[in-house]
């Protein structure tokens, strides 16, 4: 009985983990698409993982301490010549979430 329960829980855990992995994978490829195409971040930023070579803003692989929150903040509000993708409704909330997830998990990789 105990063993059965253990197996069941392990099984559920594996499924759950696989599911999030799958979800993350999907988010990453959607994020790449937003970065390079929908939002055009690529035109202004180097990001090795995305193969982008823009040189208007900083090379994102060289920016210290980038995380989900800092990317989300700047993508929402913009800075200098960088558009305010959130405030000006260039991207949806969901797209901003996805591209921030993508960038923060791609820098220096």
């Amino acid at each position: 009985m105990r063993i059965l329960r253990f197996l069941l829980i392990s099984f559920l855990c594996i499924i759950f983990k696989a599911q999030t992995l799958f979800a993350d994978e999907a988010k990453m490829s959607k994020g790449l698409e937003i970065f390079n195409e929908t939002a055009g971040c690529a035109a202004c930023h180097v990001l090795k993982a995305a193969g982008s070579e823009g040189n208007i803003g900083p090379n994102l692989d060289t920016v210290e301490g980038l995380n989900y929150d800092t990317v989300m903040d700047i993508v929402t509000h913009g800075l200098g010549v960088m558009p305010a993708f959130g405030e000006d409704e260039i991207l949806t909330k969901e797209e901003i979430d996805i591209v921030s997830f993508y960038v923060s998990n791609s820098v220096s990789k």
């Binding site: 990453m28 202004c44 193969g51 070579e53 823009g54 040189n55 208007i56 060289t62």
Partner: protein
């Protein structure tokens, strides 16, 4: 996190035609010619980007390839900051030699004067010649101390330098054009570094208006600390607005106009406004005059533990647009203050002065602070909270903790 191997093809055509969302940033992201954009960008030796691989890596803190700060202890050992140690803050990519072309033929047009004219650099060099020292300081120097984490580079003290400029006084140029015409209120300077990017000038042009009176002490500079103005610092020609924040010292200068209203570009109307946290807009003051400020450069937590006994506490102090009059130093977090001595030559009110306080410290930990005054204003204890983390001159955040053994 598994790495995503797919690389989407950057299709320029796709960019240009765009989708509905792209329309919103039309003429910004959509028209950046990638090949030009990347011209001087590849990473060079020593972990510095190529366009500044001649700089001294050890003197610098790299926040990003476009935001590079001078270490606190790499400022102030002599009055003038060597070019190799000077910070980099770029709003537009630095122009390349190829984009600049023959430096002698670089053009700047002067407008809002009786006889508008375009001068080449060679012509300006025949018109007049002067040298002056000023402080170049990013508006956001000290942003790293703000607790609300404003966006942008987290500078502490090192987005500042004291520099010798050589060039022609703006006043000489104005005189050569028959004087300022009627109703001008501002001197408006524009760079051309946005041009190679293809971005919309309204959003990307660095055009800055300052009060007209600034022209009296301003300079069109082609030399920085004895060498031709490096591209990375705005070469071959830059506007120098003494006492005003870095952004007003427009790089890669293409135009100076005396105007009746402020420039309407984003970098004037929206950016560089000192607004309360959570508020923004062009009704708030622009980053213009720098306030009185000072900080200690030695000893600091960067320079390691200090030996008990006689200690020289060294730093730099600036008065903003007025001459700095005095500096006091505290070794007990501001409970008591002693007057420091100015050392080295006085290079005029727009340069900073070095100061030193000799004192004796026994083993222990100390919080050392400096407090400058220009006669009318003195540094406040606390920072003036503001949305973007500009113009910080509070003495408390700029203090350093040292250990004496």
């Amino acid at each position: 996190m598994s790495k995503n191997k797919t690389k989407l093809n950057l299709n320029r055509r796709n960019f240009l035609t765009g989708t509905a969302t792209l329309a919103g940033i039309a003429a910004t992201a959509s028209v950046v010619p990638i090949s030009i954009a990347n011209a001087n960008h590849s990473e060079g030796k020593k972990g510095l980007p190529n366009f500044i691989n001649w700089k001294n890596r050890d003197a610098l803190i790299v926040h990003s390839d476009k935001g590079i700060e001078t270490h606190r202890s790499a400022i102030g050992e002599s009055l003038i900051t060597p070019n190799s140690n000077i910070y980099i803050r770029n709003n537009m990519p630095t122009m390349t030699d190829k984009q600049i072309g023959d430096r002698k033929k670089w053009k700047v047009s002067i407008e809002g004067v009786k006889n508008p004219k375009t001068f080449t650099l060679a012509e300006l060099q025949k018109l007049g010649h002067a040298t002056m020292a000023t402080i170049l300081q990013c508006s956001g120097n000290g942003r790293g101390f703000f607790k609300h984490k404003p966006r942008g580079s987290q500078w502490k003290t090192g987005a500042a330098a004291c520099v010798f400029w050589t060039g022609v006084p703006m006043k000489t140029v104005v005189d050569a054009c028959g004087g300022i015409s009627g109703d001008a209120v501002f001197m408006t300077s524009a760079g051309v570094d946005h041009e190679p990017t293809g971005l919309d000038p309204k959003k990307a042009m660095i055009e800055r208006s300052v009060p007209k009176k600034v022209y009296k002490d301003a300079m069109l500079a082609w030399e920085m600390n004895g060498v031709p103005l490096p591209n990375a610092h705005g070469g071959p020609l830059r506007m120098v607005t003494p006492g005003y924040f870095g952004i007003n010292n427009v790089k890669h200068l293409g135009k100076v106009a005396f105007t009746s209203s402020e420039s309407s570009v984003k970098y004037m109307k929206k950016s560089y406004r000192i607004s309360p946290i959570g508020k923004k807009g062009s009704q708030y003051p622009s980053c213009w005059e720098m306030p009185v400020k000072s900080w200690i450069t030695r000893p600091t937590d960067e320079t390691g533990k200090v030996k008990a006994g006689k200690v020289q506490i060294v730093g730099v102090a600036m008065g903003g647009t007025k001459k700095v009059r005095s500096v006091k130093v505290s070794v007990d977090g501001g409970s008591s203050w002693k007057r420091a001595k100015f050392i080295g030559p006085d290079l005029g009110k727009y340069a900073w002065r070095q100061f030193v306080l000799e004192t004796t410290l026994s083993a222990g930990t100390y919080n050392i602070a400096s407090l400058a005054s220009n006669g009318s204003d003195r540094q406040p204890e606390l920072r003036m909270e503001n949305r973007r983390g500009y113009a910080h001159n509070g003495w408390k955040d700029h203090s350093v903790n040292i250990t004496v053994v």
